[in-house]
């Protein structure tokens, strides 16, 4: 079942496979939230939230980051629920339960819910030390 082929042919084959894999990864990124259709989230809007991590639910079928966001000085913070991929998927990208520690200051970008509810689909996050997670261009 094994064939011997010239190294040049093998290199081209690997290049093609590499391109296919890259295309697949790019096309596959929406599957991060795959347990349900994502039509409740605005796909053409990004909202930036700054607050502190209340909880990181590293659970199936989706992970959730609960962030307390200060909206008005002196007023109680608003809790946002931010949906992300499954721990199975995220762990293969280096994400761990400790990635979002309780009490950590963070700025998060989300695709917000269309109806204005305090929830969204995770895009990316930046911590005070400059470290970023997800898409942060």
């Amino acid at each position: 079942m094994r064939s011997i082929e010239p190294s040049g042919v093998r290199a081209v084959r690997y290049l093609i496979v590499g391109l296919l894999v890259t295309c697949g990864l790019l096309a596959g990124s929406p599957a991060l939230v795959a347990h349900h259709a994502g039509t409740m989230f605005s796909e053409d809007q990004t909202k930036e939230l700054t607050g502190t991590v209340k909880e990181f639910q590293f659970t199936n079928p989706h992970s959730w980051i609960q962030v307390l966001v200060e909206t008005t000085p002196g007023a109680p913070p608003q809790e946002w629920s931010i949906e992300w991929g499954s721990p199975n998927q995220l762990s293969r990208q280096g994400i761990r339960p400790s990635t979002f520690k309780f009490g950590t200051k963070v700025t998060v970008r989300v695709r917000p819910m269309r109806d204005g509810s305090p929830a969204g689909s995770f895009v990316g996050a930046k911590f005070d030390d400059g470290k970023t997670v997800g898409r942060w261009d």
């Binding site: 296919l20 596959g28 909880e55 199975n88 109806d115």
Partner: protein, 270 residues
Amino acid sequence: MKLLGGACVCVLLTAALVSAQSQSRDALPDWTGVWQMMGGTVFDRATAKSEGGVLTRGQREQPPYNAEWEAIYQRNLKLRDDSRLPDPINTCGTPAGFPRLMNLPDTYEFVVRPEQTWILTENGPNTLRIYTDGRAHPAPEDRWPTYTGDSVGHWEGDTLVFDTVSMRMSRYPESGDTVLDRTGLVLSDAAHVVTRLRKVNDELMEARMVIEDAKALTAPWNVTKTYRRLQKGTRVYDYACAENNRNPVDAATGRTLILGPDGKPLGDVK
């Protein structure tokens, strides 16, 4: 003694028959490893003409549906756009079903044995058993619709060719029957799938499916799914869908909900 001798001959003949029909262990291909489907979980990417991914709205071209089933699909697309498609797997209680099983995120394993091949999906989890011991499908009166249906196959060189029937399909996603993806693709109980599964090279698996459905389709529908190998040592985990399902389906409206931190639905639930 004669009886014993006869029984022995019978056992030997049966063993020889089974051995002749199933591939010997040494001749089986090596499909070990952990794999992941390439592309989003839209069932047939080749038919997408613009948007239509799991997170995006938009119209898609159809499979070769007849007029009746195209109308059903258009209805489902509208439900999807309104977050009201009652996708059975949102309930975390039933298998994805075949052929959706070939269209899932997370990992795949292809376990090849002489008498059976198993496709194990992390998402779900789901198991598809493909019998390669020479058996045929049960007679129509001896089978009933199940999520994964009944699959029997044989080897053509390194390609596993298998035939799947008796899947639990209908036009009504509300019934909990299998839908093929988030866009609301459905088939009828007459659906019949022939799949050619092979390893293209050490990095790529390919499943070529020919789907026929005399009630819903006007022509065979060809779909190809590919799977890339993940790095060596990749672990496969539990997928306990009910662990923290904050996206249940509201029974009254069919709407997929988002539950807030207090367990109550967020936003407009009507």
